[in-house]
């Protein structure tokens, strides 16, 4: 499968590219008062209004690094933006390279051990529904 690898704090995460619609540079986000804690706000993506999720808050990760990118994913027919520090690369991996996660967490699909680092493969649907 093809995955897109990105950085969140000092960890690497990945998503199936099938979910990914595009990668955007950080842009101005309109706050939504009283929204769930992980919703960062709304962006204007070429005329469409898209909800942006603060991925680090959602995954409960501490991180003060600069956030450069918004990954636009499509989950349940709705586009959603995920804020990440930086998108690194898109790679092709064999399915058998995906190891079962140590943590039993519904939004973690598996662990991929690449030479340079370990990547946590996220489950898109679970992220948003859970």
């Amino acid at each position: 499968m093809q995955i897109v690898i990105f950085t969140l704090g000092n960890e690497k995460f990945a998503l199936d590219t099938k979910l990914v619609h595009g990668i955007e540079k950080m842009m101005s986000i309109t706050k939504v008062p009283n929204a769930p804690y992980y919703v960062k706000g709304l962006i204007n993506l070429r005329g469409s209004i898209i909800t942006v999720v603060d991925l680090k808050t959602l995954l409960n990760k501490q991180n003060k690094d600069q956030e450069e990118n918004i990954i636009i994913v499509e989950i349940n027919q709705e586009k959603i933006g995920l804020i990440v520090n930086k998108v690194d690369e898109v790679i092709e991996i064999e399915n058998d390279k995906i190891e079962k996660p140590v943590e039993n967490n519904s939004y973690i699909k598996g662990i991929i051990n690449l030479k340079e680092y370990i990547v946590t493969l996220l489950e898109g649907e679970a992220l948003i529904e859970g």
Partner: protein, 654 residues
């Protein structure tokens, strides 16, 4: 074949036909002898059957088929319409509705139809002569008369051919298929005999094979190829007929002429049918999603026009300004057009009411004349989708609480039959819907009593103010809780719904004369005029539809009453809502702020904002699923500068 792609249109057209069935049955009940009505019911059932069978929804197909049988008996005067039959047919329609709903939700019909089909069968059998199966012997026996004809034909050098036709075993409408063969052969010569008889062929008393004897000048080959040119014909055998001299068996002569006569009688209604010249306007079906996309694009255009206008002001170029004005006019036209495209006649909502009113009236023992007007009034489809429920509630109330029992009415000197009117019309840029009854009216004293019980002080309230109390939560004046309107949904629910659609509702009533509820709704929802305000660091849009006026206030003018902040404006005490507080934003220290006075239904509230940014036309875009729970907003919009701005749902905030 993959049928799923047709599901949407199937569901949509099924609904239409179910509606037609309902309407038809209602009129049939009033005019049981009107053949045109029966025909229109028949057509609806028939169309439904065809579609359902194609989608392999067998229970729907089966039920409609059995309904057709009964309807057919009615139109052939073999069955008289009575209330039992009407009620049963209504039950069928309900069953169909249920199955269609199930298909929509679960993808399967998922309903028991056996019982209802059994009932239909019983009704059908009530008068119908049972058709006995006749065993047919496929052997040609010529009588004297036949033989004479054959002999003389042969003498004149005609061919006498025995044509053995086999049609597909699973052919449907075998009689018609046989008739098609018959008709084709008849054009090529003279058919003197058929086995089985014409009657049996007509009544499908044959398997899939029959013989015809044809006297013709054509060759065997010609005949064969002609019959083979008919679909679903499996096999054709043609052979010459020879006559043995000693063959002398008796048989009745087939009266072909007479049978033709019968056909004409059988089908004469066909000509009567479909004479109603209901106007069918030229139209195309458009996928709703495409329409929404179109709407969005026009929305974009409006945004960019606004943006251009801003830029143009900075440049102060006359030429640019003029061109932009032109663009402005065109966008406005385009916008009007796309909004009109989204509009649907309220008929779509209204048309289920006659049936509902009938059932309710029957259940409650009331006599009701139900009058609908202005079904062609158009509203945005969002409104159409939402307005049904409140109207159902109002109509139920009118029938249950409004209209008196026939005895009571007569005692009051009224006619025993009450009238409930449902009227829609357009008034400026609002659509008005009125639900009116000539029943007992709202009793102000009763409402007062109830209000006092609930701890509401009615001193100094006008009669109208008191009537308006019925819109409060937990308010119901009905003495007894009936099955119909006493299910805990009150007028407050109706009001909330209408308010959330940007509309308003008012009540007019006179004791003994009746009650009228007047609903006013915006014609369209997607593009609105809005006031942009600033609260703390954020910008919000508020629909002008709610705004009564905007005043500048000094914070010292804010008073406390009943532990709540209020302002006094023109001698009215208006509760104040600090938006910063409601939205958990930083309070900005300013001496002077603005108070946007909004009216939601009968409620007037002041919204405190930091500053005003101006008035603008905005396009409402819905929020995503993650924000569905945020009742504070109706949606968001993109402003001229490209920034996203939230639109406040005033009705939910106050």
């Amino acid at each position: 074949m993959d049928m799923s792609q047709y599901l949407d249109i199937f569901l949509e057209e099924s609904e239409e036909n179910i509606q037609r069935l309902n309407e038809g049955l209602l009129s049939l009940e009033k005019n049981p002898d009107d053949k045109e009505i029966i025909n229109s019911i028949f057509r609806a059932a028939h169309t439904l059957k065809g579609m359902a069978a194609s989608m392999a929804f067998e229970r729907v197909a089966d039920l409609t088929h059995k309904m057709e049988n009964v309807l057919d008996k009615i139109r052939n005067d073999q069955l008289n319409v009575n209330s039992d039959i009407i009620t049963l047919l209504f039950k069928c329609v309900d069953k169909l509705q249920e199955m269609i709903e199930n298909i929509r939700e679960k993808g399967t019909e998922d309903a028991e139809v056996e019982e209802i089909i059994e009932a239909l069968k019983n009704i059908e059998k009530g008068k119908a002569a049972s058709i006995t199966e006749k065993k047919v012997e496929l052997e040609i026996e010529f009588n004297e008369y036949d033989k004479d004809i054959i002999k003389s034909a042969l003498e004149k050098n005609y061919n006498v051919l025995k044509i053995n036709v086999t049609i597909y075993k699973d052919s449907i409408l075998k009689s018609a298929r046989a008739f098609l063969v018959y008709k084709t052969l008849e054009e090529l010569g003279e058919i003197i005999k058929s086995v089985p008889s014409i009657e049996d062929l007509e009544q499908e008393n044959f398997e899939n094979q029959f013989y015809l004897i044809l006297i013709t000048q054509k060759s065997e080959k010609d005949i064969k190829s002609k019959i083979e040119g008919i679909s679903e014909v499996e096999k054709v055998e043609v052979e010459r007929v020879k006559i043995k001299k000693d063959d002398r068996k008796e048989e009745t002569v087939e009266k072909v002429e007479e049978n033709k006569q019968k056909d004409v009688v059988n089908t004469s209604e066909v000509k009567e049918e479909d004479k109603n010249t209901k106007k069918v306007s030229q139209s195309v079906r458009v996928d709703l999603e495409r329409l929404d996309k179109f709407m969005n694009l026009v929305g974009e255009l409006v945004i960019h026009r606004t943006r251009l206008e801003q830029i143009s002001r900075d440049f102060k170029s006359q030429e640019l300004h003029e061109t932009l004005e032109q663009v402005g006019r065109i966008t406005t036209d385009l916008q009007d057009l796309v909004m009109k495209v989204r509009m649907l006649p309220i008929e779509k909502v209204f048309n289920r009411f006659p049936r509902m009113v009938r059932d309710l009236a029957q259940e409650l023992g009331k006599e009701i004349e139900f009058v609908m007007k202005g079904e062609d009034t158009e509203l945005d489809r969002t409104v159409i989708d939402e307005i049904g429920e409140p109207l159902v509630h109002l109509l139920r109330n009118a029938i249950d609480h409004g209209i008196e029992t026939p005895e009571e009415r007569i005692k009051q000197g009224k006619s025993s039959k009450g009238t409930v009117k449902l009227v829609a019309y357009q008034e400026g840029n609002k659509a008005v819907i009125k639900v009116e009854d000539d029943g007992r009216g709202l009793d102000v004293n009763k409402i007062k009593k109830k209000a006092n019980q609930l701890g509401i002080n009615t001193d100094g309230m006008s009669e109208q103010d008191i009537r308006n109390l019925i819109f409060l939560q937990g308010f119901s004046t009905s003495e007894k809780v009936t099955d119909i309107s006493g299910r805990g949904v009150g007028m407050d629910v109706v009001k909330t719904k209408i308010t959330s659609l940007g509309g308003s509702i008012e009540v007019q009533s006179e004791v003994g004369k009746g009650t009228a509820f007047i609903i006013r709704l915006p014609l369209t929802l997607s593009i609105i005029q809005a006031l942009l305000v600033k609260v703390s660091e954020e910008t919000f849009a508020i629909s002008l539809g709610f705004i009564d006026r905007v005043i500048k206030i000094n914070l010292s003018e804010i008073k406390i009453s009943n532990n709540k902040e209020v302002i006094i404006y023109r001698n009215n005490v208006i509760p104040l809502i600090r938006l910063s507080e409601k939205l958990n934003l930083m309070e900005v220290e300013l001496e002077e702020k603005f108070c946007v006075i909004v009216k939601v239904g009968e409620k007037t509230v002041g919204l405190l904002v930091d500053s005003l940014l101006g008035q603008q036309e905005i396009v409402i875009k819905p929020l995503g699923k993650l924000l569905q729970k945020q009742k504070e907003y109706v949606g968001a919009t993109i402003l001229g500068d490209g920034l996203v701005t939230l639109i406040l749902d005033v009705a939910a905030l106050v």
